[in-house]
């Protein structure tokens, strides 16, 4: 039992470390995604500024759906 417990303990430690790593990874990805989102929005607003007549509606809808991705 003693051995089992220390095995469990070590395993828990390991999962915690693993979780920590995942959390960091998620954090980095999240940051990257935020940046990407900003870029995307910028690009889209640029596209919108392009005088392109009837395309405006489409662009607005695509930009709003993109922001829903976050």
């Amino acid at each position: 039992m003693e051995r089992l417990n220390s095995k469990l303990y070590v395993e828990n430690c390991y999962i915690m470390k693993e979780n920590e790593r995942l959390r960091k990874k998620a954090e980095l990805l999240n940051q990257e995604n935020q940046q990407l989102l900003v870029q995307l929005k910028q690009k889209l607003s640029k596209t919108n500024k392009n005088p392109n007549g009837s395309n405006n509606d489409n662009n607005v809808s695509s930009s709003s759906s993109a922001s829903g991705q976050s």
Binding site: M1, E2, L4, N5, L8, Y9, E11, N12, C13, I15, M16, E18, N19, L22, R23, K25, A26, L29, N30, E32, N33, L36, L37, Q39, L40, K43, L44, K46, T47, N50, N52, N55, N58, N59, S61, S62, S65, A66, G68, Q69, S70
Partner: protein, 1004 residues
């Protein structure tokens, strides 16, 4: 270790020597009876046993002895086994929790990876559309196609597949659903270890994101890209495999079965050409390779909480309330186990069996949120019962009124609840909540209680009006309790509130915007309380004073509550302000002439104040401190009562319990140092709160009051003194109590609360002055100091002080002025203490000025002269011929700790003087230094070394002690490389004191 007994002489029982004694059940029973009374009977008792008990009369005393030894040993083993089992259960549950967390994180990561890839791709597409303007018109009908292609995992020998009756449509549907799930986890997740295929173009005309498998069973590839076609069209094209797969010889759809849910199941036979001659062509039936196409439009829209649907809801009818409740439940659950809030882990979590659990706090969310998840060894319903009784564990909760209870129809209950919360300081109004609470069972057997505010946006009846409260909002919060294998529960707690930080003064805002403080005060407090009760129930907790844990907890609650009542001074409790005579408004004084109403409208406050004269008076103040850790300050106030307390005032407070007349003293802090002895009563499992009795040793301070010189007792609650806790507030609350310590003793608490104010980001607070003028800070912080603490320790805390006294009609004014003066002097003492214990910004800045009295100058001269005379070396390097002020400054700022202690034959040595480094080492001030005894500072080996060197010091004048460890007044360990001790001689060569120099010391 079992002791084996040999039975030598009982031939009459037919036992040979060398065999175990066999006891009859009756004998065992008799022995067990004795054992329960006394597990270790004396030999006298054993003999008596044999004489008195007829059943045991034929057994030898020695064997009886062995039986008890074995019995004790068995008991020990059993206990050990039980302990290990408990630890094992906890570890297992912890393991389960961690695994779940791991699972969630993995999902989160793969989701993020998917989003990431998707956005990258979109970015490229948009870029291309910027340049080729003709394609933008197609944006509206673009779809994202994710297809898992050609994943040829051959697992058709799976036993489960063989058992399933695939001839009936339901069996096929279950295969299909399983395939779908597996496919999706490959398409958007990490069910396969995907690596991006190299050689892909990053530009706008890239085909998409292509990944290939690595080290998986079979081979796999996936692609994700945008096409300008309708989803159904895309599906149609892709399904026609022959049209695009050149190696596909034929695709025969053998049967088509409607799946019932609108989907279709087909059984397909496909033949593939061999890529080159000599390789056998393969025919695969695709029942087990995942073949499905998911076409997803961009539907990750976040739920908007201000959805118009809320406004239309008629929340006055139960169905309307149920819909609010169900929505709150869903939102709560997505916070409790999901990522509806951006959670970050709060503290370094312990992995072991003693860990409280996993605590997370919100980041950048609207309002503040905290969640905790932990294990308790209580049944779910018991846990729910405890947690629902918010007043029992939330110290800041003034009252909870359930205004109506509505059965929800599905077995759940909806309650409408009005809650009042105390303000933590005198600087902001208290908060209240008007909430709907929904308790129900979930399908998986777990019990859930969720709660949210009813506002104009949610609909629902309006709550009771409140004048002295600011209505705060509770976002969906609550607790989820899941039964755990082998007993006990896993509890998830979420608190999410918006405390309306904008309505408090700017300087106080961090307190209302800190998710860490929320976590400590509510979320973790709830979990701690449940665990505490669980441990008490299982009998793991040892309590002192022979009191029941519940009684001691009631004491703690009464102290806290009384202090909160004093700080808040609610009108409906009977408090009214008393104007000051001297015009100064730094201290506010309130009186309460109807102390019968004391304790608030709750069952925790008893009508306990018949003995409190004609009224109660409270003097209170708040102040801001900079760079003072709350835990250290409160610990100091606790351990060095004489630094701030006045014996006379303590005496007055104590006398009011006895109804004997006692002159109102005039307050002088530190005027009469009294010895205090702290007797611990109880502490919580994690030692974050102590209940104790403080005995103040009595001494009369004028001859005519000799009769009153007796010991006084204070019941004291000290919490938050663990420096490692993040965001905790520290508190020292005490009330005089008479010697009877009756369970229902009346308590009139006074004390301090120190709350850290998290620093937002601006590092431009003044750091030179550690006590700030609160008035100017409240006006909006106009200080221009821009020098932040060099070691980044620039933070503020707010200290709230409240002292309560009883008075009679004719003494009202004198008590008021005494209380005002007393609190003012305590404010002064705290400022002094704060100055001494704040970490010094850099060593060069001398933040406390050296004492400059003539006595100090003389002492310093003696110290350095004696050092030179005895050792032949100079204390301050070469040029120490200087005298007076320079010498004093040199000694004061010496980098080693130099301390002097008294040299009396009849008393144990106490410190009399120290330089700045010395005060740092002992973590004290010049005044408090004189209470510190040398014996308590040095450790055992240090004391021994000093004793053995003492004759040498007396003869030669000095000695070096080896490296060792000593303790500061706070109990922190200090290691030093060497200590030099020398005899300080006065001008006439008589012994004055002993000087110590601790070289190269550091905190351990």
């Amino acid at each position: 270790m079992m002791v084996h007994t040999m039975h030598r002489e009982s031939p009459d029982k037919g036992l040979d020597s060398g065999k175990y004694v066999r006891y009859t059940p009756e004998q065992v029973e008799a022995l067990e009876r004795v054992y329960t009374e006394c597990p270790k009977p004396s030999s006298l008792r054993r003999h008596q046993l044999i004489r008195e008990s007829s059943i045991l009369s034929n057994i030898e005393p020695k064997q009886i002895k062995v039986w008890f030894q074995n019995r004790r040993c068995r008991e020990k083993q059993r206990k050990e086994a039980a302990r290990l089992q408990t630890v094992n259960r906890k570890l297992n549950a912890m393991n389960k929790l961690l695994m779940e967390e791991n699972d969630r994180l993995q999902k989160q990561v793969s989701h993020l990876v998917y989003d990431n890839g998707h956005m990258k791709h979109q970015l490229h597409t948009v870029t291309s559309s910027t340049f080729a303007s003709g394609t933008t018109t197609d944006n509206s009908c673009e779809s994202v196609v994710v297809s898992g292609q050609q994943h040829q995992q051959q697992n058709s020998n799976h036993p489960q597949h063989l058992q399933r009756d695939a001839n009936n449509p339901a069996g096929l549907l279950s295969i299909a659903e399983e395939a779908l799930a597996e496919f999706l986890s490959k398409a958007t997740g990490t069910a396969v270890d995907w690596v991006q295929m190299i050689g892909m173009k990053p530009g706008p005309d890239s085909i998409g994101i292509v990944s290939i498998s690595r080290n998986c069973s079979g081979i796999a590839a996936r692609a994700c890209g945008l096409v300008s076609l309708e989803p159904m069209k895309v599906a149609e094209i892709l399904k026609d495999r022959q049209s695009w797969l050149r190696d596909c010889r034929c695709v025969d759809t053998l049967s088509v079965i409607p799946a019932g849910n609108g989907g279709t199941i087909e059984l397909i036979y496909t033949q593939m050409y061999a890529p080159y001659f000599g390789m056998q062509a393969s025919g695969t039936t695709t029942d087990n390779s995942c073949e499905s196409v998911v076409v997803s439009g961009q539907q990750h829209q976040q739920q908007n909480s201000n959805h118009p649907q809320h406004l239309q809801r008629d929340a006055n009818n139960p169905a309307g309330l149920l819909s609010i409740a169900e929505e709150a439940l869903a939102e709560f659950l997505s916070k409790a186990t999901g990522t509806a809030v951006d959670w970050v882990q709060m503290i370094g979590m312990k992995p072991g069996p003693d860990s409280i659990g996993i605590v997370s706090i919100s980041r950048n969310c609207s309002g503040i949120a905290a969640r905790a998840c932990g294990l308790v060894s209580l049944e779910p319903m018991k846990v729910a019962e405890i947690l629902k009784d918010r007043q029992s564990w939330l110290r800041d909760c003034r009252c909870v009124d359930t205004l109506s209870v509505i059965p929800a129809g599905n077995g759940g209950t909806i309650e409408l609840i009005y809650t009042q919360m105390y303000a933590p300081t005198t600087l902001a109004a208290a908060r209240d909540f008007w909430t709907l609470r929904y308790s129900t069972c979930l399908e998986d057997g777990s019990y859930v209680v969720c709660e949210r505010s009813l506002t104009s946006t949610t609909g629902g009846p309006n709550g009771p009006p409140s004048s002295s409260f600011v209505r705060a909002e509770m976002r969906p919060s609550g607790f989820l309790i899941r039964p755990c294998d082998g007993g006990g529960s896993i509890v998830h707690i979420v608190d999410h509130v918006d405390l309306d930080a904008w309505s408090v003064p700017e300087v106080m805002r961090p307190l209302y915007e800190s998710s860490k403080i929320l976590a400590q005060k509510m979320t973790v407090a709830a979990l701690r309380h449940v665990r505490q009760i669980a441990q008490e129930t299982s009998g793991e907790v040892q309590y002192g004073g022979g009191r029941q844990p519940a009684v001691l907890r009631t004491f703690s609650q009464k102290l806290c509550r009384g202090f909160n009542d004093a700080v808040n001074g609610f009108v409906d409790d009977g408090w009214s302000p008393l104007g000051s005579n001297d015009g100064a408004e730094d201290i506010s004084v309130m009186i309460n002439l109807s102390p019968g109403k004391f304790g608030g409208p709750s069952h925790y406050g008893s009508s306990f104040l018949p003995s409190f004269g004609s009224g109660v008076l409270c003097a209170k103040a708040s102040m801001l401190l900079e760079n003072v850790p709350p835990a250290v300050l409160v610990r100091f106030l606790r351990e060095h009562r004489s630094e701030w307390a006045d014996y006379g005032v303590d005496g007055y407070a104590a006398a009011s319990l006895r109804a004997s007349p006692f002159a109102v003293p005039c307050a002088r802090a530190g005027g009469f140092p009294s010895n205090q002895v702290i007797l611990p009563l109880a502490q919580t499992v994690e030692h974050e709160e102590f209940l104790e009795v403080v005995r103040l040793e009595g001494h009369a301070y004028s001859p005519e009051e000799m009769g009153l010189a007796r010991d006084m007792y204070l019941l004291q609650l000290c919490s938050g003194v663990d420096e490692n806790v993040v965001g905790g507030c520290a508190q020292l609350v005490f009330a005089p109590i008479d010697e009877s310590f009756a369970d229902d003793a009346p308590l009139l608490p006074s004390g301090f609360r120190v709350i850290p104010l998290e620093h937002k980001s601006t590092p431009n607070g003044a750091s030179g002055n550690r006590t700030l003028d609160l008035a100017s800070a409240l006006e909006g912080s106009t200080r221009q100091g821009s020098e932040a603490g060099p070691n980044g320790c620039n933070f503020r805390s707010v200290v709230t002080i409240a002292f309560q006294f009883t008075f009679d009609n004719h003494t009202r004014d004198s008590v008021a002025s005494m209380a005002r003066q007393y609190v003012r002097s305590i404010v002064g003492s705290i400022q002094r203490v704060a100055l001494a214990i704040a970490p010094r910004p850099g060593s060069s800045i001398s933040s406390i000025s050296a004492p400059t009295s003539p006595e100090a100058l003389t002492l310093v001269r003696w110290i350095s002269r004696s050092y030179r005379v005895h050792t032949g070396a100079n204390l301050f390097g070469s040029d120490s011929q200087t005298s007076g002020d320079t010498l004093l400054r040199q000694l004061w700022s010496h980098t080693d700790a130099i301390l002097c202690c008294s040299l009396k034959t009849n008393a144990s040595p106490v410190f009399t003087f120290a330089n700045q480094t010395g005060l740092d080492m002992l973590e004290t001030t010049l005044v408090a230094l004189q209470d510190i005894m040398l014996d308590k500072t040095l450790d055992e080996s240090g004391r021994k070394a000093l004793c053995s060197e003492f004759p040498k010091i007396m003869q030669q004048g000095y000695a070096h002690l080896p490296a060792g460890v000593c303790a500061s007044s706070m109990g922190r360990l200090v290691s030093y490389e060497q200590a030099t001790v020398w005899k300080v001689l006065e001008d006439d060569e008589s012994n004055h004191c002993l000087a110590f120099m601790f070289v190269n010391w550091s905190f351990v």
